[in-house]
């Protein structure tokens, strides 16, 4: 990268600029995710469909329909062959991205399924629901291996750590809990406070947990000590379960959506806001970073209904 300052200085931050807007959904978009191999982008919407785009050309490749109610979350398997989606019709579906079929429907939840994730080995799926339980499913047979009465209010976020041994779950009841993935037993409360937790996710190395709470803050916790190390503010987050993520392709940043219709980027170490990306016309509910390129995709709610792609010039 060209730098016009002295070599000791880090290169100046290059802002992300708008690349494209995808307007194929007919209702609010709830989630966008790049596949782990970076070739595909999936977006889920309250219009009950999941759309798959090529992340290179941003052409629409396929439409997965089958859910009978809106889709709230989706996740890719590690080999990018399978996709799982969580829907308000109380089921989860596993889709084959190559054959474009729904290969499995996972039933068991008794209320809206809100969040879902694969484990790194992609033989387990964890899901969280409005029925206050966290369920772990066997991908191969579709069997529910554990049904955990995890919280006392809807579970808003579930995520596996890097080696698949732990699950973190966040909920509107204000607690963030850590579970053993193999036995489904409760290991630890990361914290238990009054403010609803809207999102929780492990860092790439599994040592830290990024937690968003509905008091306009994002905190990075060290789960073994139970203390938070960094706090990121400036955005608005009081109502929706906005996802945030780590951007590690070109410097370390925290990226998050916001209810003021912008995408926020903070420097991970310095916690300062480096960019506020405008463009959406409604709250930005989900953001995802491409695994290798400096590309971010963001999704907007009902007043917007678009997926917007932002890239960083190099």
């Amino acid at each position: 990268m060209a730098s016009n300052t002295a070599t000791a200085q880090p290169p100046p931050y290059r802002p992300y600029r708008h690349l494209k807007t995808l307007t194929d959904h007919t209702r609010a978009v709830s989630c966008v995710k790049f596949s782990n191999d970076g070739t595909l982008l999936a977006s889920a919407s309250l219009d009950k469909t999941i759309l798959i785009y090529s992340s290179q050309t941003l052409a629409l490749l396929s439409v997965f329909s089958g859910h009978s109610a809106g889709v709230s979350d989706l996740a890719w398997s590690s080999d990018s062959h399978y996709l799982t989606s969580a829907s308000d019709d109380r089921t989860l579906r596993i889709w084959d991205a190559r054959s474009k079929d729904c290969v499995k429907t996972l039933k068991g939840h008794t209320d809206f399924v809100f969040c879902v994730n694969f484990n790194p080995q992609s033989d387990l799926i964890v899901s969280g629901s409005f029925d206050e339980t966290v369920r772990v499913w066997d991908v191969k047979t579709g069997r529910c291996l554990h049904a955990i009465r995890a919280h006392s209010m809807p579970v808003t976020s579930v995520h596996f750590n890097r080696d698949g041994s732990l699950i973190v779950s966040g909920s509107h009841d204000g607690s963030c809990k850590i579970w053993d993935a193999t036995t489904g037993t409760w290991l630890k409360n990361l914290f238990d406070e009054a403010t609803a937790v809207s999102f929780a996710k492990f860092s790439p190395n599994g040592k830290f947990i990024l937690v968003a709470t509905l008091d306009n803050s994002l905190k990075l916790w060290n789960y073994s000590t139970g203390k938070f190390l960094k706090i990121y503010t400036g955005h608005t987050n009081q109502v929706y379960c906005i996802t945030s993520t780590f951007s590690v392709t070109n410097g370390k940043y925290i990226v998050s959506g916001s209810e003021d219709n912008c995408v926020y980027l903070w420097d991970l170490q310095g916690k300062n806001l480096v960019q506020k990306i405008e463009g959406h016309t409604d709250a930005v509910i989900s953001v995802t970073c491409h695994p290798t390129e400096n590309k971010i995709a963001s999704a907007g709610l009902d007043g917007d209904r678009t997926v917007r792609i932002w890239v960083q010039d190099t």
Partner: protein, 522 residues
């Protein structure tokens, strides 16, 4: 990893049966290096690979040529290959990921145990211990076999393979299988013979380097190394398990043997061998049950070498004895009244897997106790009451400056979110080889429940909920657009409350909800 969270106060050995696996009649088991996959050899000649995390079948290795019972299963170092020995005298080498047979060799006698060379990831040689014959090194590609010497008597020092015979040169009974195993890196073989001697053999030159005689001279039935290669265990006919400390370095053990020539040259023959042997192994402990004098079955070490486990099948019982390395018996696990056949300790977790003669595989794990101190993140559990001594100024009204001293971590500290900690339990893995930790989980396409093959092969279902029962009025759909029908396994959680007015209360029945094995766990 989750190591820091697990409570160190609880002992590190299993306590209760957590679950059992059922698929045909399984006879012998082996974990892969990381314990993520469990291979089980069956009586019908096939080998099942279980995904230990989901407790489901990941792969089935079946060959139409081999229909007789499997006698042993062995993984290659990084899990790419499995060697299976069967009662029809054959050894079959499989490629794990593809599920294809690589090669098959037949021996003259049925191999009771076969171990792949542990040093390489695609080994072509293995150590086979056949019934009524000396152990042999088998080259799986060519099928050639080299007999391993089983005696310390004069025919040592030459590399020629003795002709195969029915009797040993020392005339001992032909039907006692001789036990043998590789050391950790496979450069040496340790043989336990029927005279109660441990022979240390260089298998490339087929040369006996050292001998360690066991007092009493009872026939050695099993000989096994710990996972880290530092301890050796022998199980003898005198119903005693003996632990030896391996004095040789782990890498280059053979070289160290050659160079251990502090022994004067005039010591020759057997005496020399014994002197060398004394430098290789040192007796550490002996275990036996003095009261019941049990013949031990399938003794082995725990993954970290801290515990020794031995099984007992006397009078048809299914008992597992656990000792710590210092020799204290810490636990006796008692299973159902089905004789124990094989036993294995998980390489990493405090889990033991045992096979009963009915063909079921039982998984023993720790009994989970709620750790209430985990409720608040900074709670610490104390063993016993501690007197709290307050500071001199604890109750003083202090200006704020003092209090701030113990504020949290410096918020300007660098946080590293990408570097991964190296797992010390697997420090000897060289990253050049990619290890097979799991087999890709391909979702089985959904089929009408009556024919769902997945049902039979899954692990135990709760409460004998019969397949097909909740579905009678909803049968007929296939796969995709099912709204109401639940697969039989999910019958417990039949969530077709949509239109039925939510009267199915099955879900509410169990306050502590675990789907699987709730009657067995906790």
């Amino acid at each position: 990893m989750n190591a820091p969270i697990i409570d160190p106060l609880q002992g590190d050995f299993p306590e209760v049966i957590e679950e059992y696996l059922e698929h045909g009649i399984m006879k012998c088991i082996a974990f892969n290096r990381r314990g993520t996959l469990l291979a089980a050899g069956c009586s019908d000649g096939s080998c099942i690979i279980w995904d230990f995390e989901t407790r489901g079948i990941a792969q089935e290795l079946r060959d139409k040529d081999c229909v007789s019972g499997i006698t042993s299963v062995s993984w290659s170092k990084y899990g790419h290959r499995i060697l299976v020995s069967a009662a029809d005298k054959s050894l079959t080498l499989w490629d794990v990921v593809k599920g294809e047979k690589i090669t098959r060799t037949s021996l003259q006698k049925t191999p009771l145990q076969a171990r792949l060379h542990p040093g390489s990831s695609t080994p072509s040689i293995c150590l086979a211990c056949p019934l009524s014959s000396a152990p042999m090194i088998v080259d799986l590609n060519t099928g050639s076999t080299i007999l391993v010497p089983v005696s310390s008597s004069p025919d040592t020092g030459n590399g020629s393979a003795p002709p195969s015979r029915n009797k040993f040169s020392d005339g001992s009974a032909p039907y006692t299988p001789v036990a043998a195993c590789f050391n950790k890196h496979g450069d040496l073989i340790y043989v336990g013979n029927s005279k109660g001697e441990i022979l240390i053999i260089d298998h490339k030159n087929v040369k006996v380097h050292g001998v360690v005689p066991i007092t009493g001279g009872a026939v050695i039935k099993n000989i096994v190394f710990s996972r880290n290669g530092q301890y050796l265990l022998t199980n003898s006919n005198d119903r005693t398990i003996r632990i030896y400390e391996n004095l040789l370095p782990l890498k280059g053990g053979l070289k160290a043997l050659d160079e251990s020539s502090n022994i004067p040259y005039d010591v020759e023959g057997v005496e020399r061998l014994k002197a060398v042997g004394g430098k290789c192994l040192a007796l550490f402990r002996e275990f036996q049950d003095a009261i019941t004098k049990i013949h031990w079955k399938a003794p082995c070490f725990s993954g970290d070498g801290e515990w020794v486990v031995g099984g007992s099948a006397s009078k048809g019982e299914h008992k597992i004895y656990i000792w710590d390395r210092a020799g204290h018996l810490v636990k006796i696990l008692e299973g159902p009244r089905e004789a124990l056949v094989d036993l294995a300790w998980h390489p990493v977790h405090p889990i033991v897997v045992s096979v009963s003669h009915t063909g079921l595989v039982y998984i023993w794990a720790k009994d989970y106790t709620e750790n209430w101190s985990a409720f608040a993140p900074d709670f610490k559990e104390l063993e016993e009451n501690e007197e709290y001594v307050e500071r001199e100024d604890e109750f003083d009204l202090m200006p704020e400056t003092e209090k701030v001293k113990e504020s949290e971590v410096d918020e300007d500290d660098e946080v590293d979110i990408v570097t991964v900690d190296v797992d010390s339990a697997f420090s000897d893995s060289d990253m050049s080889q990619e290890e097979i930790c799991f087999l890709p989980a391909i979702p089985c396409p959904e089929v009408p429940e009556q024919q769902d093959k997945c049902v039979e092969s899954s692990s135990k279902l709760v409460n004998g909920h019969h397949p097909g029962s909740p579905l009678s009025d909803e049968a007929g759909q296939n796969g995709q657009a099912m709204e109401h029908a639940a697969s039989p396994i999910d019958g417990m959680y039949n969530s077709d409350a949509e239109d039925d007015g939510g009267t199915r209360l099955k879900r509410r029945r169990k306050p502590s909800e675990k789907v699987l094995g709730s009657s067995l766990r906790r």
